[in-house]
Amino acid sequence: MTGDIIMAARFIGAGLSMIGALGAGIGIGLSVQGALEGMARNPDTYGNLLVNMILGIAFSEAIAIYCLVIAFLMLFQVV
């Protein structure tokens, strides 16, 4: 019975840790919005903006990845 409670706590913890992906989603959305507006106003900067946008997305995404790693560690009983 105790094992079941621990398992339930693992699932709840994994779910809670993924709340952090919220911020990453907002960040990615904002950076793509900015880049797209820039591209629409000045199509010549397309290539330059695309590279910087992908870099910014990678940084925001890393935050979500930290949360994902914690969730995986909880789910698969690594720690």
């Binding site: 990678a58 990845i65 930290y66 790693v69």
Partner: protein
């Protein structure tokens, strides 16, 4: 006119069909199981090589990546020495990558390009090839059998070679087995990423010291304005201590960014392969394509951040005031 090679659709098509057929055959014959997920890299040989030193599977992969990089370097060297100005094949691809990296470094670092570019290119190439090791079939799936508590029954294919199959482990006569892979992607080992992060941050300090001399360390403990203007001087001191802390947090964020991205990617591949039915095995190929992209992006991000921090270290805070005075 240069003679262009004709695109051999007729041959390549059959190769693609062959690999699709092979993957469908193996996915139905031996359905993918969920392998054990370990953060710590496993030992290829259970006994230590000497003392307390084990041969881990990420170490094997790092050696493989080193061999690949050295052979590419030799191939590019022989192509460069042959005298033909138009690079062909792999040396052309490497030249395009290095030229893009060099131009990026030159636009950011200025006169320090010659110092920073080798570190940037080395880190990018090493991380790139170690991430792309995930693409090779057999990586993280071929290994020795390890009897454990969790696991799946094993079925012998031929003498000495067995496959782990999905199924109820309760009425398997052989017991429970897990695969300890011979080769595992180096970036899923925190030791690899932490070592790279330490190299990057320490070399940033070295380059900063070479560029600015002892003045560079006034960034970290700033007593210069403390006695002239006590109020703002104290604030400068506190800010410089924050700079010192952020230097250490760089090590953490460097190592965990790369480790987290690649480790989460490999776990995603395991899960997609084991949860989906055998008919949907092509979805895993799509995830693998995504991982290809992620590996490229993370390698570029690691190298580019190193380059940006290094070029920030070469010109200090005082420079702007000097320019304004001049």
């Amino acid at each position: 006119m240069e003679k262009t090679k004709k695109w051999r659709w007729g041959v390549n098509r059959w190769w693609v069909f062959l690999f699709i057929g092979l993957s469908i055959f193996f996915a139905t014959r031996y359905p993918p199981i969920r392998p054990g997920i370990f953060v710590v890299p496993e030992n290829v040989i259970p006994e230590p090589l000497f003392g307390n030193f084990y041969l881990t599977n990420t170490l094997v992969a790092t050696i493989i990546v080193d061999i690949i990089l050295i052979s590419i370097a030799l191939a590019v060297r022989s192509a460069a020495k042959s005298g033909s100005l138009v690079p062909k094949g792999i040396s052309g691809a490497i030249e395009a990558l290095l030229e893009a990296i060099y131009n990026l470094t030159e636009s950011t670092a200025g006169k320090w390009t010659k110092t920073i570019f080798p570190i940037f290119a080395t880190i990018t190439l090493l991380v790139l090839f170690s991430n792309w090791l995930e693409m090779f079939p057999g990586v993280e799936s071929i290994g020795r059998l390890h009897e454990g508590e969790h696991g799946y029954p094993a079925v012998a294919i031929t003498e000495g070679i067995s496959a782990i199959v999905k199924g109820d482990a309760a009425h398997a006569e052989g017991g429970h087995y897990e695969v300890v892979p011979f080769v595992r992607v180096p970036s899923t080992d925190l030791n690899f990423t932490l070592a790279l992060a330490l190299i990057s941050v320490v070399m940033t300090q070295v380059i900063g010291f070479r560029a600015q001399g002892a003045r560079y360390f006034s960034k970290f403990l700033n007593f210069t304005t403390l006695f002239k203007k006590p109020g703002f001087g104290l604030m400068d001191l506190l800010i410089s201590i924050l700079e010192l802390i952020s230097e250490f947090s760089k090590i953490l964020s460097f190592s965990f960014r790369l480790f987290g991205n690649i480790f989460a990617g490999s776990v995603l591949l395991f899960l997609v392969g084991s949860i989906l039915p055998a008919g949907a095995v092509w979805i895993q190929s799509g995830v693998l394509l995504f991982e290809f992209f992620i590996g490229l992006i993370q390698a570029l991000v690691f190298g580019m951040l190193t380059m940006v921090f290094m070029s920030m270290a070469t010109h200090g805070h005082g420079d702007e005031e000097e320019h304004a005075a001049a």
